[in-house]
Structure formats: structure tokens, C-alpha cells
């Protein structure tokens, strides 16, 4: 392997006629990293990802994915890239195992199909017809087909839409496991807590531009933002904003002479930071 990043994008631009979908987007994803792209619908996430996947031509800019320009995809490159697209589900009468085994034949060094089925939690459904799966189970089959080729780089476009909380938890474990094995992952999601659970870094796209790239803990100055301490006072709920939450809590403890009723200490959630950023971008954009 080389030190060059798995994904390298400079000044990416994509227009559809007069409409600009992506404008001057930069992005670097290191090998082995899990990177989450966040952004509202229509912000250019899927356009960007599909350019990187080799599906769409770009209007301008420099793009390299695993050292190859995805506008000129070749089959060796396809063998190293796993793709989980948004909402498919086109299999009806064939079983889960048959589909996964079939797709394994396309790759030079595939994973064992039964292990893949196990990893996505479909072992109990391995012999069921794909058309009889629930929405979440179909999505897991999509993921199985994305990883059966043992990709170096995996694209996941809104992978957990329609999952129940338990399935999502299991899916996250699978992603952690893939990341531990060294798979580079680029995912898009609407669930901020998902990005926080999975990604080393997140990038926020709005109106075709990258607003910020940071770790989930530091996005939008989250680590420096004031902490909110709140409690049940004699006259109802009270709260204060502070940069020194520990000192405030100690003071409160003295005042109440022990436990502080209804005490919470919170930093803004990723979701609050994110919504704030998107809102600002809309106002200034």
C-alpha cells in the first residue's frame, strides 16, 4: 500500500445544465479511515459519492480514488471498491445465499459467502427468498453484496435507513469490524448519532459545498462550546451556561448540601451543532 489517501478530491464541480450540484468540493479520506458525509437532502452528497464510485461523470476538478480516476473505471479497480447504493431490492425468487454466492463469483478474492451472511445477521434467512425479506433485511443483503468482494474501500449510501434500533446496533458492530480489518469506509447518513458512533471524521455538505471537516467531537467548535448545567431549583427548573462545568457542579453540591435534584450536564449534541451550521449556511448562502 502507499501513503496516498484512499480518496483525494480537489475542486470537484458538477453541474446539470444551469443547476450547480457540487461546487469546489475538497475531500481527503485516509486509508483505513471511516469518514461520514452529512448534509440535507439535495446538498450534493449522493452526487459526490456517485462521482467517486465511477457512476457519474464530473464537470470539473481533480479526483483520485485508490489511485484511479473514477471517470475511467477499470475492472481491477471495481474489484477493490464495494458499493452499497441507496434503496434497491431487485431480487425476488432467489435465496439470500444464492445471491451472495453469485456475486462472490465476480471477485478475484471474495469473502466466504456464509461468513458474509453471518456478519450481516442474515444466517437465519440464508435460505429465504430475497423477495420475502423485510426492508431492513433487504438492506443487509445490499451490504452483504457490497462487502463479499473484500473491498479495500467501501461506499455506504444511507445504509441503515429502515433499520430498527437493534439491527442498527448490529450493523454498527459490523462496520467497526470492517474498519478494524483496515477497510476504508465512506458513508453518508442522516443520523447524526450514527456518524458519531462510526466515523473518525465527518464532513458537512450544504448546497454543494463542504462547510467543515472535523472529528465528531470537535465539529463546529463543539468541544469548546459552553456546557449547560441544569437542575431543579426551589422555584422550578434552573440552568446556566458555563466553560467550567465541574466548578459549577461542586458549588451546587455545597448549596444543596449533597445530591443536586435533577442535575444534568450537557454539551450541545452533534445534531444541534449540525443544524446550527446548516441553518447558518442557508442564511448566508
Amino acid at each position: 500500500m502507499t501513503d496516498e489517501p484512499a480518496i483525494h478530491v480537489r475542486g470537484l464541480r458538477k453541474t446539470y445544465g444551469a443547476q450547480v450540484a457540487v461546487e469546489g468540493l475538497d475531500l481527503d479520506v485516509a486509508r483505513g479511515e471511516c469518514f461520514a458525509l452529512l448534509g440535507p437532502n439535495g446538498a450534493g452528497k449522493t452526487t459526490t459519492v456517485e462521482i467517486l464510485e465511477g457512476y457519474r461523470p464530473r464537470t470539473g476538478g481533480e479526483v483520485s480514488v485508490l489511485g484511479v480516476d473514477p471517470a475511467k473505471p477499470n475492472r481491477d479497480w471495481r474489484g477493490q471498491v464495494g458499493i452499497v447504493l441507496q434503496g434497491t431490492g431487485e431480487f425476488e425468487t432467489v435465496s439470500v445465499r444464492e445471491v451472495v454466492r453469485h456475486f462472490a463469483t465476480f471477485y478475484p478474492a471474495p469473502r466466504d459467502p456464509d461468513e458474509v451472511i453471518e456478519a450481516v445477521g442474515l444466517t437465519a434467512k440464508a435460505n429465504s427468498r430475497a423477495g420475502k425479506l423485510s426492508g431492513g433485511q433487504r438492506r443487509r443483503l445490499d451490504v452483504a453484496l457490497g462487502i463479499v468482494g473484500r473491498p479495500e474501500l467501501l461506499f455506504l449510501d444511507e445504509p441503515t435507513t429502515g433499520f430498527d434500533p437493534e439491527a442498527r446496533q448490529e450493523f454498527w458492530e459490523l462496520i467497526h469490524q470492517l474498519a478494524d480489518e483496515g477497510t476504508t469506509i465512506l458513508l453518508t447518513t442522516h443520523y447524526l448519532y450514527e456518524a458519531e458512533a462510526l466515523a473518525n471524521r465527518v464532513g458537512v455538505i450544504a448546497a454543494g459545498r463542504m462547510l467543515e471537516v472535523a472529528t465528531p467531537a470537535t465539529l463546529g467548535g463543539r468541544d469548546e462550546a459552553a456546557t449547560v448545567v441544569s437542575w431543579d431549583g426551589p422555584a422550578g427548573r434552573e440552568m446556566l451556561s458555563t466553560d467550567t462545568p465541574t466548578a459549577e457542579v461542586l458549588k451546587l453540591g455545597e448549596r444543596f448540601g449533597g445530591e443536586v435534584p435533577g442535575l444534568t450536564v450537557s454539551r450541545p449534541t452533534l445534531e444541534e451543532i449540525y443544524l446550527n451550521m446548516i441553518h447558518k449556511a442557508e442564511v448566508t448562502g
Binding site: 500500500m1 486509508r31 464510485e53 465511477g54 457512476y55 457519474r56 475492472r75 481491477d76 471495481r78 474489484g79 477493490q80 471498491v81 458499493i83 447504493l85 434497491t88 431490492g89 431487485e90 431480487f91 425476488e92 425468487t93 432467489v94 444464492e98 453469485h102 456475486f103 463469483t105 465476480f106 471477485y107 478475484p108 478474492a109 427468498r129 453484496l145 468482494g149 479495500e152
Partner: protein, 276 residues
């Protein structure tokens, strides 16, 4: 990190043929589990035969029963339906559902997709033929040839006929703008071709301009090739130029195959319009 050699994907026509075989097996499995389409596709020719031989009884010159004349015609219709109609509709559905996009994202050699389709069609055509001939023989109205040379003719007409009709279907799959519109675009073409290609009446009784039009499409030639298998050679006198024209059949179907492949290569789309 340690240097790893990336595995390279397989290359060359043999590899494409192997993956095409895998595709074909998968397609056949999918097809045979859809009970409605299996029953309809395989029994439709039999229904046609039973219906027409009950209702119609044209007198055909040369002492040939209508059933005997009709069997090669139905075989030709069955072949053309399985290759042209099924593929044109199926491929536009697979495009719209995103299945082709999914395949495009894998290292599968693109030719394997087309090879798989042709393997599936060939299997369907062979089964249709076995069932139709079985029923015809059981009815006792149709003589099945026992001459090896006739069956050799059957084999090459079938191979070339499937190839020409299948690539026509593949190329045509891009004409329909949506999967919903596909049957509406494809079915009339097939029906008109059936009608003008001498399937439902003796070809030479059609007006000349109709014969000429039909001669530009594969179905007419497949039907004529099959007639040369199932009708006595004396019937060749009643063909347009008083001969089975085997050479011409091979040339026309061959041209259709080559031109169809070229058109498909130039126009085939793995994604629908709204997806580029």
C-alpha cells in the same frame, strides 16, 4: 503497512464465458421460480397449437396438414418471444430497478451479462420445443423428422435465431423510456412481425411488399428455416424462390447478430435516464 499485491480480476474471453455461465445459471434459477412466467412462456405455444388446429383448417397445397405447417411457425414465434420480447422487457425492468447499476459496480465483465441472457433464452427455447413437439406427436397430427440432417438444420437455425433475436431485444431494451412503457413498446413490434412473417398463414400468399418488409427482420427467416426442418422438401417449391434458401437464412440472421451487437455496444445503458 506491509506491501500487499492486489488480486487481479480474471480476463479474456474464457473468463467472460465462465462468468457468463454463472449469470446464465442464476437467470435460469430466477426464471423457473416464477411459476406464472414459466407456465405462460412454456405453454403458450401449446395453447396456440391446440387452439388454431381446432378452429382453423386451411387447405395447404402439397397435402400438408395445417398442424404440420403450423408447428414450425409456432416454434419460430416461441423463439422470437423468448429472445426478443422477454429480453427487451426484462432488461428495461432490470435497468429501472437498479440491478444493472449494481452489476456495473462489480468487476463482472460486461459481456458476461449478455452471455447469461442468451444462455437463459436458449434453455427456454429448447424446453418450449420439447414440450410443443411432445404434445404435437401425442396428438398424432404432426410428423417429427427422424433425419439427422434435418436436426442439424434445426440446431443452426435455433442458434443463429436466438442470437439474432436476443441482440435485437437487447438493443431494443433502450427504446422504452421506462419499464412500465416497455411492454407497450415491445409487444406491438412482436405482434406485427408475427403477422407479416407468415406465421398465421402461408407466407407466399401475402402481398409482395409485405413479404419484402418481413424479409428485413429475423422472424421470417427463422420460420422459413424451421419449415425446412418440419415440412417435406417438396414444400420448398412453395417458398418465395422455390427453395429453402438456407444460405440466405444464415446470412440474414448473421447480419442481424453482428449489427445487433454493434448497436447494443453503442447504445446500451446500465442506468435509467434520471440517473446520470
Amino acid at each position: 503497512m506491509t506491501a500487499v499485491t492486489r488480486p487481479r480480476v480474471g480476463r479474456g474471453p474464457l473468463y467472460a464465458a465462465r462468468i457468463g455461465w454463472e449469470r446464465g445459471r442464476f437467470e435460469i434459477r430466477e426464471f423457473f421460480r416464477q411459476r406464472e412466467s414459466v407456465v405462460f412462456t412454456l405453454l403458450f405455444p401449446v395453447i396456440l397449437l391446440l387452439f388454431f388446429t381446432q378452429v382453423v383448417n386451411y387447405k395447404i397445397d402439397g397435402g400438408i396438414s395445417f398442424a404440420q405447417y403450423f408447428v414450425p411457425a409456432i416454434l419460430a414465434v416461441g423463439l422470437f418471444g423468448a429472445a426478443f420480447q422477454t429480453l427487451a422487457i426484462q432488461i428495461s425492468t432490470e435497468r429501472e430497478k437498479g440491478f444493472l447499476k449494481r452489476l456495473e459496480g462489480t468487476p463482472m465483465p460486461p459481456s458476461a451479462y449478455f452471455i447469461g441472457k442468451i444462455i437463459m433464452v436458449f434453455e427456454v427455447v429448447i424446453l418450449e420445443t420439447i414440450i410443443l413437439l411432445g404434445v404435437s406427436a401425442a396428438m398424432g397430427k404432426v410428423k417429427i423428422p427422424i433425419d439427422g440432417g434435418k436436426w442439424l438444420t434445426w440446431l443452426w437455425v435455433t442458434l443463429l435465431g436466438v442470437a439474432a433475436s436476443a441482440v435485437f431485444g437487447m438493443a431494443f431494451s433502450s427504446v422504452a423510456r421506462s419499464a412500465k412503457a416497455a411492454p407497450a413498446v415491445v409487444t406491438p413490434v412482436a405482434l406485427v412481425l408475427q403477422f407479416i412473417s407468415g406465421v398465421f398463414f402461408v407466407f407466399t400468399t401475402a402481398p409482395e411488399w409485405l413479404q419484402l418488409t418481413a424479409s428485413m427482420f429475423p422472424l421470417r427467416w427463422i420460420a422459413q428455416g424451421y419449415r425446412s426442418v418440419f415440412l417435406p422438401d417438396s414444400f420448398a417449391q412453395q417458398e418465395t424462390v422455390h427453395s429453402w434458401e438456407h444460405g440466405k437464412i444464415a446470412i440474414v440472421l448473421g447480419i442481424w447478430t453482428v449489427v445487433g451487437i454493434l448497436v447494443t455496444l453503442r447504445t446500451f445503458r446500465w442506468r435509467s435516464d434520471r440517473d446520470s
